[in-house]
Symmetry: C2
Subunit: 285 residues, 2 copies
């Protein structure tokens, strides 16, 4: 379906991600419409030629004409939107999302959704430390991962459409995981790393340390500049998986601490060699 | 003294750091000699024009002629060298180092050193994930910190010589701290960050995660590729300061974990806003 550029795509939520989607997809020739909160975002996107039309209202024609609807909203707002407005969706439409957690979203949306509309969930693993449509870019997805998380309720057609969308957007690695696998993996690779970064950034309020800060501290705290509204919601939406990753981290950290207390240099070196060897796997290919 | 290029500089330990020092200082016209373990390092440095002469032996003439001796060795090897060979140093020579911890080195060396030779300690906060003279570069010090850690035993002349050395090498920020202030600061900014990185890298051995890894995990584990011999020695040499920084981190991490368990979104958001605000201080100027 998606490769047919006569289809109409609606983006709900025109921020950094929604805007970046619009920029890339418009270039392929799709008809792109947008619904978002602020008129200034619509004005900006129209002016940049990123969308064909847009509105801050629930425009029944725009919603009813869309073959593919991409929701780039906070999780609870996405769920509310579907609850209230799913009656406006076109029969046969496919809807997808960008939400960073999956179990708490996918089943809820699929359970409540009309039978003639299909929700196939996806997580584009891309972001920046800035937000808003004004910071959107068509270069955000190169080198990044796009994960589609189908369930038993999804059709092969919708899954393929969503995979195709990821490739069109320019993601380097487009794959599928179950919602459960996704949430465990993201709990470790993304959420735990953010927990660590904000902890490191706030555990020591000594002054003037920035004068002596080198690259390693800067690297570990880059993501400590964080959208508090979004991440607190994502953490809670993945609470059990994240808590278990936090425990795994604390246990290993305490092992290292015990080695240091005991001046057990052999065990410390063994852990460091393991770390060095394992890190090599994660070099960018 | 140092600005007088007729003075002779000896570098003991011609690895990544010692080699990078040689590259930069040679260009100012100083006579640079080197003593190191491997003949291949001497051959490489001579071939590159980084040093005037070098040897793998304790050459009494070379050591006895040096006005400034820079020790770029592991801490315990540096201490052993001084114990055994300080009799060979020129009367009036100034010696300095590159060691990443200070309290356990500075007082020991100053206490054992001859009265007519002065040790002024310094920590060049620069490194790479590679080692060896073949990876040395004259571009390693721009943007980095050089910290001189004087004690009551140091003369203003030696302190100024060492500060001047840091500036000549091209460090962007050349300052002084007491050995105690240095070790507390480095325990937090450098050693704790390495502890966190190697813990994150080794706490979860699940396979195939590299396929889904984004920039945040890569940023937090860049320094997880670590020289196990050097860092285990540095950790133990700063044990008390590092353990207290590890405790500070664990306490804050457990606070965050308790907030998540309680779904206390307000406290999580407050911590994230604090993190965001504090991180802004650490942006590169």
């Amino acid at each position: 379906m998606i490769v047919d550029v006569s289809k109409k795509i609606l983006i709900v939520g025109l921020g950094l991600l929604g805007g970046s989607y619009a920029r890339v997809l418009k270039r392929f020739g799709f008809h792109i419409s947008a619904i978002t909160k602020e008129q200034s975002s619509i004005d900006y996107a129209l002016n940049e030629g990123m969308i064909d039309e847009g509105t801050t209202h629930l425009d029944e024609r725009i919603i009813g004409e869309a073959d593919l609807v991409i929701f780039a909203l906070y999780p609870h707002i996405f769920i509310e939107w579907i609850e209230k407005n799913q009656k406006l969706l076109k029969s046969g439409a496919i809807i997808t999302d960008v939400t960073g957690v999956k179990r708490s979203i996918v089943y809820k949306i699929q359970d409540m959704l009309r039978d003639d509309v299909e929700f196939i969930a996806a997580h584009p693993m891309a972001g920046r430390e800035v937000s808003g449509v004004e910071n959107s870019t068509d270069k955000m997805f190169a080198g990044a991962n796009y994960i589609v998380t189908p369930t038993d309720k999804n059709s092969p057609e919708a899954i393929n459409t969503c995979l195709e969308l990821g490739r069109l957007l320019g993601f380097s690695n487009v794959t599928t995981l179950s919602p459960e696998e996704h949430d465990e993996m993201i709990g470790f690779l993304s959420q735990l790393t953010h927990c660590i970064a904000i902890t490191l950034m706030t555990c020591n309020d000594k002054e003037n340390m920035e004068k002596f800060t080198g690259d390693s501290f800067r690297d570990l705290t880059r993501i400590a500049r964080i959208n508090d509204l979004m991440w607190s919601e994502l953490f809670i939406a993945n609470k059990d998986a994240l808590l278990s990753q936090m425990d795994m981290f604390i246990n290993k950290f305490n092992e290292l601490k015990a080695m240091l207390e005991a001046e057990d240099i052999d065990s410390m070196r063994e852990m460091m060699r393991h770390s060095t060897k394992r890190r090599a796997l994660f070099d960018k290919k």
